[in-house]
Amino acid sequence: MKALRVRRPTTVRGLLLHVILMAGVLVSMFPFYWTIVMATNTTQDITKYPPKLTFGSHLFDNIQRLLDSIDFFGAMFNTVIVAVSTTALVLLLDSLAAFAFAKYEFPGRRVLFAMLMGIFMLPLQLAIIPQYLIMAELGWLGSLKAVIFPATANAFGIFWMRQYMIGAIHDELIDAARMDGCGFFRQYWHVGLPAVRPGLAFLGIYTFVAAWNDYVWPLVALVNPDRVTLQVALSQLNVSHGRQDYAMVMAGVLLAVLPLVVVFSLFARSFIADATKGAVRE
């Protein structure tokens, strides 16, 4: 850290690098800025040519129209339920499976892991129809269960945690725990999990964001229009109003993204703290 701070970008190369990075930041920030602009103006203002590029004062009108047309907070509540339970289950189940794959010798381990990697490669589109049929069979269609449970045993999550655990959990510690009389679950809970906290933090952020923003599968599975997640509810705005009210849609998008930004910054702080702590203690 210190070394980086001391080496100031006095060289041409350093300056150039900064300019490029700044440009990158601006380009990736622009859609977010544009969303705010649209959410705070009227639709007429943003669809005229040239469009208005500064913040307006119509945010509350837009939000009011949004709340009148959909059950925004109901949908957000559903999304919170989905994202929180998916993340909790993914962290628990994926790390549990990963612990077995990383630290236990059991018959069929290689075959199972190869199959898991196979699933990893499959695109979601292939799974949608069989998944739909399964959910229909279970009678879960239209219920949030249908969105939560298929996401929990996640091939990427298991793979990621396994790789992390192979490096981070020393065999001597597991041996010692076994000799002290810890069974599989206590080894996992007391030796395995604390050693992989940064890995879990990453997986948690990743899963939460993915669950929050997930659109295709909830759209298919949540067949009851009164019980949908935020992303699906926002998409209903497009069809339910003849002329597009972009300002209202963007106000919805803005409100939908805010909790994510909050959660992300909270998690990211502990994630970074943990990662550096690990590096110092190595």
Binding site: H170, E172, L173, D175, A176, R178, M179, D180, G181, C182, R186, V191, P194, A195, V280, R281, E282
Partner: protein
């Protein structure tokens, strides 16, 4: 005292892998250790010393033969906390202080004392197994200052000492140690040997100690077990009949060197026997 040996291995085989790539890590190993003895295992790399320790600690199962610790299988002995292991690299949880690390075993498996009593011949030897004061043991091992530090803040030797104290904290009846001092400089090593002998003297445990160093084996042990590789086996068992405590004075004595030479000779023969 009963006649049950602290450790007993009967025609133990351990084979890793199968087919043409199989490694015969242990082949027809017999070993009996009476309670309270200090036994060293010595032999060239790959002769199965670590494997033997893992079998005794119940971390692995023999493919053939039997391992008994105080007459019961290692898993049962572990559940009763009869066995303490000091691995080759110290096993301390990085997120706990030294003190919490060494007191951890006492917090897990609280039923151990009850299980201990059920193992015949043990209850009478250790009628009042009071938990030792871990702070005192740490101070004795020179870690008084380091008690509240994290393992990463200690030197390698200090970590090793903490691992030894952790194992002693169980008051194990059998302490198995896998080259615990091999990564240390000579000075630290000798002082740790002394501390180990003190603790051993005080707690009267049976010790199974793996080492690569012949003087270390002679200095510490009642019995030296010489092993040879391919297949891993015991080639000789030598009793070291020297008075204790074995201070520095002993290093100069002829008897000490005679034992050293004897063990070196056996090791050399084990090595050449393999080449032939």
């Amino acid at each position: 005292m009963t006649g049950t040996p602290a450790l007993e291995l009967r025609s133990v085989h351990r084979i890793y892998g199968f087919g043409s790539s199989a490694t015969n890590a242990l082949d027809e190993v017999h070993l009996t250790v009476p309670p309270g003895r200090f036994v060293s295992l010595i032999g060239p790399s790959g002769c199965g010393k670590s494997t033997l320790l893992r079998l005794v600690a119940g971390l692995e199962q023999p493919d053939h033969g039997e391992v008994r610790v105080h007459g019961v299988p290692p898993a049962k002995a572990c559940a009763a906390k009869l066995i303490g292991l000091v691995p080759q690299s110290p096993a301390l949880l990085p997120w706990l202080s030294v003190l919490r690390n060494v007191t951890l075993p006492q917090k897990i498996n609280k039923g151990a004392a009850r299980r201990r009593e059920r193992i015949a011949g043990f209850a009478e030897r250790d009628a009042a197994p009071s938990a030792p004061d871990m702070r005192e043991l740490l101070v004795k091992a020179g870690l008084g200052e380091a008690m509240d530090k994290l393992p990463a803040e200690l030197s390698g030797g200090m970590r090793q000492r903490a691992a030894i104290v952790r194992a002693f904290g169980l008051r194990p009846d059998v302490l198995v140690m896998d080259e615990p001092f091999s990564a240390l400089d000579e000075f630290t090593r000798e002082s740790l040997q002394d501390q180990l002998l003190d603790l051993w003297d005080e707690l009267k445990t049976t010790v199974l100690f793996v080492t690569h160093s012949v003087p270390e084996a002679v200095r510490l042990s009642d019995t030296v077990v010489v092993m040879a590789p391919h297949p891993g086996r015991i080639v000789d068992i030598i009793d070291v009949d020297l008075p204790r405590p074995r201070g520095d004075r002993l290093f100069g004595e002829r008897r000490f060197h005679e034992y050293e030479d004897l063990i070196r000779d056996r090791l050399r023969r084990a090595w050449h026997g393999e080449a032939a």
